[in-house]
Symmetry: C2
Subunit: 414 residues, 2 copies
């Protein structure tokens, strides 16, 4: 095995000890947790050992800079090291370590012949992509691209009331780095689905993100004794929420298989006591589809259910937050560049959409962007058992290296 | 207004300041909270001012003792001062203050002529009747009657990991009082229903508790990305729980109106993250009815739903805890005694069942027991708006005084 591949696999096997969940292959490394902090310190050392200068910005994004062309803009590449609670070790972390090792490989090549570089190279570990501890997700890249005000991000609290600012400062992970001039961006991620594995594809050329309609519902009823109150007198907010959760699942069967994904992942109930009818429930409710027409039809059906729940269960149902987007393309020039590199390396490739959002979703609105996938066995994601073979991981690092080589030489930028 | 009634109403209006919820008439005074501690200190002073000697036992039950017949057993009367989160000011607290004031009245009568007393008199504020912060409910009376081991109660944790022992010790509310010899018990409570108000009844003669089948379900699925995972691949524990919550409500309509009450008041979801399909849900599920036949039929139907959820939603559904009882009578001799006192006082009375459990549910298994209700406007319970008129409160104190007068003189005891 080439030395560069061995080096990647060594770091890969080291990284999963941060936040490792005993007795599993997975990790629990929520944003700005102690485990996230330990891994950030380790990662900064790895970058410095590879010749990259490490900086943190005010929202805890970690950057490793390699200056090849003094004063020139940077090609940026990376992903995120934070995880969902009890999740797999690949999601996000693979993209960060693949970016670092692709960077190390290019650093070796270009230090010998810097004339081939038009741009500098930077590796990034975005803060809080997952959004499980601090909402919203993709926080670091949202602040970086100006979509989320810094102060709003820093003031965000976790369920224990700890703010992003306090949590990051406790780890020494906030800095004053700012003003990075980015020429282009590349990110690689494991697919969170099983189409590539089933079709024998090694490199996914991500050409679009599915559309989504995301709601936070507040369902309001009235507290009552859950034993003694007459059933007809009750206004049960948890019952209202349960009807919406069931409706979300049943709605899927009204559409072609695979056309619509729905989910309710988070629910918070008050007072959540054994003998009290719930008076207030907050429920997250997502619709996702590549088709705007499907999303619009599904939205109409959800609102019909909301009306029925209001009327029949006598609870109030309000939408207190909403976030929607239609199918969102990645630039075709980036897809084509990634295709050419895959051809060059003889890797089986295919255009693929992403259902999940990534930090590249933010970056592609700011600069020319390439988004890549490697396969995931059975598509298991946000689960301790998530798995991708070493062979596919290494193919992804090789492919990303090829993409970055072209970007550093000026590809995608006029 | 008689001085004794004025005295009761003065204490009644003072008590609701402990844990008062701003802008409402209700309270938030969960067991061993700071508000509970402040009220306990105040209540101990009120008992002492009334000539009662105050003692605490090892699980924080507060006793006020009036010795009339040295060495004789005690007639015990009381209820609980703790509340559900954001609840009414009547539930529990009315019974404790009514007991104290009935005690003060009898103390005046009997100090003048102790020859009429065969037993001594004690007032009790039971610890943690509500069970919202620390489970199970009726904790203090369960330990007192030997149904729950003391060490198990003390080791119980709230959701923040604070144990009963630590919480009570922080308030100085644990003592070493033990060995109270109880001859008989009486408790008064606001009805948690509206039948008495509707029928113009002032005193409810409680003759039985509804039966119940209570379950804690654990629903187990598998974590997955809630956007990307194929719908057919998901095993969504929250969906399984939602189907059970909806089924609980729909089941009611299969029986005669009022024959069956069902409820799911508490649900806990893991990981409860916006983009993760839930892998584990704990759900409390109650069936209540005066009829064992209805409960058994309802149980069978619930298990059919559980089977369907297992099969169709591919989640595991286990019963991890279960607590069941059939309709449970109060002693007829106590009902008759309470009826005689109501006749004597010219108060409209009626036999009534309780759907909710009370500390008297424990005590009646140990000693002759009388359980009384006063009406509640619209039957509102476990809600900030719970209300009973002063007139009904005072009628209840007068009635309880009459009951205790007979118990102290030896009624219900051979």
């Amino acid at each position: 095995m080439p030395h560069a591949d061995e080096a990647f696999l060594a770091d890969w096997s080291a990284h999963a000890r941060f936040g490792a969940v005993a007795g599993t292959n997975g990790v629990d490394r929520q944003a700005a947790s102690a485990a996230d902090g330990a891994q950030r310190a380790w990662f900064a050392e790895r970058l410095e050992a590879g010749g990259f200068a490490v900086h943190r910005d005010a929202v805890g994004n970690q950057f490793g800079l390699l200056e090849l062309v003094p004063g020139a803009p940077y090609v940026l590449t990376g992903s995120h090291l934070d995880s969902q609670p009890t999740a797999g070790r690949f999601d996000g972390a693979y993209g960060v370590l693949a970016s670092a090792h692709a960077g190390f490989r290019l650093a070796e090549e270009l230090r010998d012949d810097p004339s081939r570089a038009r741009f500098n190279l930077a590796v990034v570990n975005w803060f809080n992509e997952e959004g499980s501890r601090f909402k919203p997700s993709m926080m670091g890249s949202s602040v970086f691209t100006g979509k989320l005000p810094l102060q709003e991000a820093l003031a965000t609290s976790d369920p224990q009331g700890i703010t992003v600012e306090v949590a990051l400062d406790a780890l020494g992970e906030r800095g004053d780095f700012a003003g990075l001039d980015v020429a282009s961006y590349a990110e690689i991620h494991v697919q969170q689905g099983r189409s590539m594995e089933e079709r024998g594809v090694t490199i996914g050329l991500v050409n679009a993100t599915w559309g989504a309609r995301k709601f936070e519902f507040r369902i309001t009823g009235a507290q009552a004794h859950s034993g003694a109150a007459l059933m007809a007198d009750r206004r049960d907010a948890l019952l209202g929420a349960a009807r919406l959760i069931v409706a979300a699942r049943e709605l899927v069967d009204e559409f072609e298989p695979g056309a619509l994904h729905t989910a309710c992942g988070e629910i918070n109930v008050y007072p959540n006591s054994p003998v009290v009818v719930a008076s207030e429930v907050q429920l997250l409710f997502d619709l996702r589809s590549p088709s705007s027409e499907v999303l619009n039809r599904a939205y109409t059906r959800v609102m019909e259910v909301v009306e029925r729940v209001r009327r029949e269960d006598r609870v109030e149902v309000e939408i207190v937050a909403e976030h929607s987007w239609d199918q969102d393309p990645y630039p075709e020039t980036g897809v084509e560049l990634a295709r050419e590199v895959a051809e060059e390396l003889g890797l089986v490739h295919e255009r693929v959409m992403t259902v999940a959002g990534h930090d590249s979703t933010n970056m592609k609105d700011a600069v020319p962007t390439v988004m890549l996938f490697v396969p995931s066995v059975d598509g298991i994601s946000h689960h301790l058992d998530e798995f991708t073979t070493d062979e596919d991981l290494l193919a992804g690092v090789a492919h990303l290296t090829g993409v970055l080589r072209r970007l550093v030489s000026g590809a995608l930028v006029d």
